[in-house]
């Protein structure tokens, strides 16, 4: 997946790793030509003269502020109930550093 049609499958694998998508080798092999075709179609963007044109991130919105006053937050219980795993008032996940236990 690159703007080069002769790209190697590693581009899809690299991008999938960035996106935390654990694709199988078969999926990578299938996605590679699909994504090349899609990006090839999108290449029209490269021909536009954009000199001096500012980007539009949203439709003309302005920053919004409010007084910094404490407000009641959502009760954590119904949120934790919907989590795959929770312990007391926390989400439970595998250890992130120093081993897997």
């Amino acid at each position: 997946m690159s703007n080069n049609p002769s790209s190697t499958p590693s581009h899809v694998r690299e991008t999938a790793d960035l996106a935390r998508l654990g694709l199988t080798d078969e999926e990578c092999a299938r996605l590679e030509p699909e994504l090349d075709k899609i990006l090839d179609h999108f290449k029209a963007l490269q021909e536009l003269d954009l000199e001096g044109v500012e980007g539009t991130a949203t439709g003309g919105l302005q920053d919004v502020t409010r007084p910094d006053e404490p407000e009641a937050s959502m009760d954590p219980e119904p949120l934790l109930e919907q989590a795959p795993r929770a312990v007391d008032e926390h989400y439970q996940v595998p250890r992130a550093v120093g081993g897997t236990e």
Partner: protein
């Protein structure tokens, strides 16, 4: 195939309920029975909420409070709108079983207005698709011909309204996800100006584009629904500080002198003949009422699809990062590490199209490619916005087809992502510019694969920023000149 609301829209139903001609509980039961009877064939609903709907109906019958503007009206909600206690799974395996812990602002407003939510509708997974086929739970089917797609991504909401199973439904429109299925199912679908309806409680896909949008069988119902769900919401920082419009404020208005812009790029030579004819007939009805047709140009229209798909996928890749097995829905353990849990959960939970879009968006935002792809797309978006600003100097509304093809057969484009993306070619521009746009029933045409068949065509009217009220007024006046909107599917089972 037509349900209990054939021949009666939400406005008419409300009158029938208030006059005592119909009861709220009786209406709710008839609605639920029809949904249950049709769901195996049409697949419009992911969950049918009989118990809560009947409870809601009974409360409305018991209360002494002044009836709200949607008193007793059954409504259906797309599966990406949070509704407390109800499964809001975005038609994704990843969120299967996830019950929303709070209610979206638009749903709260429907409830406060007396509406009765009867169920959660099918959709393309995380609102990514133009056919409804990307649902993890099987596709919804077009009630005019159940071998065909209803359009997407708000497929189930469109089917529910088109089959007259409910008079009103909410969807979300990011690049045409309400307007395109409305066109393909022969009903009204309206995307308000970006920010007009709060996105609080709408599961995010492309945050600079997403807009909660209603389906209805009449233009006046769109105005009625907008009057309920629109209005500023401090919980959505992109919500516009504009009051909700009042419904039915256009009595006595006329089309005379209205300048209708016809963008030549949206009537390309390759447009299907029947779609062109039906839209031209609708334009002729407008001129017969005193409208002036003005040819206008949107010179950057050919860049709309790449611009949209780069912007929307970039935003999606960021928004969907939260679905990692920690806080929501399903988790798949990997080899015991946190990173492998993320990767395994996401790979097992997301369907093929969602993965495809996350990859495109991640690529478009990745180091070394961001300026070339995302950066260029946001600047192209500025040019598209300027095209509209120029066009609206010469006209009051724009009129063009909503979708180049009528409903195509299930499976026809499923393996060809580029051809599927091109189905959105006439709807994404208004989304990128943040403008209000409505698809109105414009007639019927034969699909290219079956010259004997007759399927709905939609005409898209686009208005200037914040011109929602005027746009719906034009839709109502156009409605009064024809009867296409009154036609309901009668069979269609092949």
């Amino acid at each position: 195939m037509s349900g209990p609301f054939e021949g009666i829209d939400a406005t008419g139903l409300r009158e029938a309920i208030l006059s005592g001609e119909r009861g709220v509980r009786e209406t709710t039961e008839a609605c639920l029975d029809a949904i249950e009877a049709s769901n195996d064939e049409l697949g419009a609903f992911l969950t049918i909420e009989r118990e809560s709907a009947l409870q809601c109906a009974e409360e409305l019958e018991r209360t002494d409070a002044e009836p709200g503007p949607l008193h007793g009206i059954p409504v259906a909600l797309k599966a990406n709108l949070c509704w407390e206690g109800h499964e809001t799974n975005c038609a994704s395996r990843l969120l299967e079983g996830w019950r929303a812990p709070y209610t979206a602002t638009c749903v709260e407003r429907l409830l406060a207005a007396g509406a009765v939510p009867v169920g959660v509708t099918n959709m393309d997974e995380f609102a990514m698709g133009s056919s409804g086929e990307n649902s993890a739970f099987g596709p919804a089917r077009n009630p005019w011909d159940s071998t065909r797609i209803p359009g997407g991504s708000s497929s189930g909401s469109a089917v529910a309204v088109a089959a007259r199973l409910v008079p009103l439904a909410l969807g979300s429109d990011t690049g045409g996800s309400v307007r395109q299925p409305a066109a393909l199912c022969g009903i009204y679908g309206f995307k308000p100006t970006y920010g007009r309806v709060s996105r609080y409680g709408l599961v995010a896909f492309g945050s600079s584009l997403d807009q909660v949008s209603p389906f209805a069988t009449s233009a006046r119902d769109l105005a009625l629904c907008l009057s309920v769900i629109a209005g500023h919401d401090p919980r959505d920082s992109t919500s516009l500080k504009l009051a909700a419009p009042s419904a039915g404020a256009n009595d006595g208005a006329s089309l005379s002198g209205l300048r209708v812009g016809v963008p030549k790029e949206h009537f390309p030579p390759e447009l299907e003949g029947g779609t062109r004819t039906a839209c031209e007939e609708a334009l002729a009805r407008l001129t017969a009422q005193g409208c002036e047709l003005v040819e206008v140009s949107l010179p950057h229209a050919r860049y709309a699809i790449p611009t949209y798909y780069v912007v929307a996928t970039a935003e999606a890749s960021s928004n969907l990062a939260r679905f990692d097995g920690v806080a929501y829905g399903q988790r798949v353990d990997g080899d015991g590490s946190l990173q492998s849990m993320f990767a395994a959960t996401r790979n097992a939970g997301f369907g093929a199209e969602v993965k495809r879009r996350i990859l495109i968006g991640t690529y478009a935002l990745s180091a070394g490619y961001q300026d070339e792809w995302y950066g260029r797309a946001t600047r192209a978006r500025t040019l598209l916005r300027h095209d509209y600003e120029e066009a609206f100097k010469r006209c009051d509304v724009l009129a063009a087809p909503t979708s180049p093809p009528v409903a195509f057969p299930l499976g026809e484009r499923a393996d060809d992502p580029v051809s599927m993306y091109l189905a959105d070619i006439l709807t994404v521009s208004a989304s990128l510019a943040g403008l209000p746009a409505v698809s109105v029933p414009a007639g019927f045409a034969a699909p290219v694969d079956d010259p004997e068949a007759s399927l709905p065509v939609g005409l898209q009217l686009t208005g200037p920023h914040s011109g929602d009220e005027r746009l719906l007024e034009v839709a109502q006046l156009l409605e009064a000149t024809g009867d296409h909107h009154t036609k309901a599917p009668t069979g269609g089972v092949a």
